[in-house]
């Protein structure tokens, strides 16, 4: 199916805008990703806010594609996908608010640099100063929510061979389908890179002795490790049921992140505050 086939009853303009709206945020978000202390396309002060704003646009591409296809399967798939993406975006948002709280900045470069300070970094064990350790529950919530946000296995209920086929992409062929596919993988890399920046020290080496290796290589290695987890999840876990996915998002992850937000806020007011 390399030919681009447009369904007769589809809304032609929206049908072509759908894939573009899906891949565009995954590309545009890279503008604020820092690869080193001064290596960033746009060092925006509200970088984290910009990133959340851009990535939240992606759901519109899915809805538009599902609606414009004029197919029951595509529409039901789009509803499922958009509900799932919006649900897990909340958990991701709250998880990033916790990081924002401990870093005291929305600037992604500042967030990485705040992880280069602390007793671990003073001992040359940089990885002990990164956010993953004190914010471990949030890190786990972020990674799992990232998998769900990208509609990846085991949360890939937007596709189902026996019911809604390829979900919102079912009427797409050729380059239209390829763009949806590319967007899924570009989002995986973006979410992984964000996890590296927010929780795994960004461009910092895990041990002070390895600091001679350029920062962008460390960021690449960390991103690769997180992306590998996505592949590992796909190869290891059975698919969740849709109601289980929604329950996990709304009844477990959102409460956990909210409680941990309060815990960290109280922690920061005590003499045991490690983020001074």
């Amino acid at each position: 199916m390399k030919e681009v086939v447009t369904p007769t009853a589809s809304s032609r303009v929206l049908y072509f805008i759908g894939p573009v709206m899906t891949i565009m945020p995954a590309m545009a978000a890279w503008a604020v990703i820092p690869f080193g202390p001064d290596v960033v396309l746009a060092n925006v002060n509200a970088g984290l806010l910009l990133l959340l704003a851009i990535t939240s646009l992606e759901v519109y591409g899915v809805i538009i594609a599902g609606w414009a296809s004029n197919s029951k399967y595509a529409f039901l798939g789009a509803l499922r996908a958009s509900a799932q993406m919006v649900s897990y975006e909340l958990a991701i948002g709250f998880a990033l608010v916790v990081v924002l709280l401990v870093s005291g900045s929305l600037n992604l470069t500042d967030i990485v640099e705040s992880q280069g300070r602390g007793w671990g970094a003073e001992l040359g064990l940089n990885f002990l100063s990164w956010n993953w350790l004190p914010l471990l529950p949030i890190f786990v919530v972020y990674i799992i929510s990232g998998v769900a946000e990208t509609n990846r296995h085991p949360f890939d209920v937007v596709e189902g061979e026996s019911e809604i086929v390829a979900g919102h992409m079912v009427e797409y062929s050729g380059m239209g389908f390829a763009v949806f596919f590319l967007a899924e993988y570009a989002n995986m890399i973006l979410i992984s890179c964000m996890a590296s920046i927010m929780f795994l020290g960004g461009w910092y080496a895990p041990i002070g002795l390895l600091s001679f290796i350029p920062g962008w290589i460390w960021l690449g290695i960390k991103t690769f490790l997180v992306v590998s987890c996505f592949i590992w999840f796909r190869a290891s876990f059975p698919r969740y049921r849709y109601d289980q996915i929604m329950r996990l998002g709304w009844k477990i992850f959102i409460p956990v992140t909210l409680v941990w937000l309060v815990v960290v806020a109280i922690w920061m007011q005590t003499p045991l505050n490690i983020w001074k």
Binding site: M27, W30, A31, I33, D38, L41, F181, L182, Y185, A186, M188, I189, V227, I231, R234, A235
Partner: protein, 57 residues
């Protein structure tokens, strides 16, 4: 590194004049997006190759 970038900026602005900021911004966008698209391509390839190989062994 910074010296090299400054030399490129000076050379570029002298050759291209007012068009240089646009060209430089586009060059930076390509420098970020090109490796990203290569990563996406190889990630897709790797995902199609790795799990079947590990499950067959």
């Amino acid at each position: 590194m910074n010296g090299m970038l400054e030399a490129i900026t000076a050379q570029g602005s002298s050759v291209l004049g007012p068009a240089w900021p646009v060209v430089w911004t586009l060059a930076k966008i390509v420098a970020v997006l090109l490796p990203l698209l290569v990563c996406v391509a190889y990630l897709t390839y790797w995902e199609r190759r790795l799990p079947p190989r590990s499950s067959s062994s």
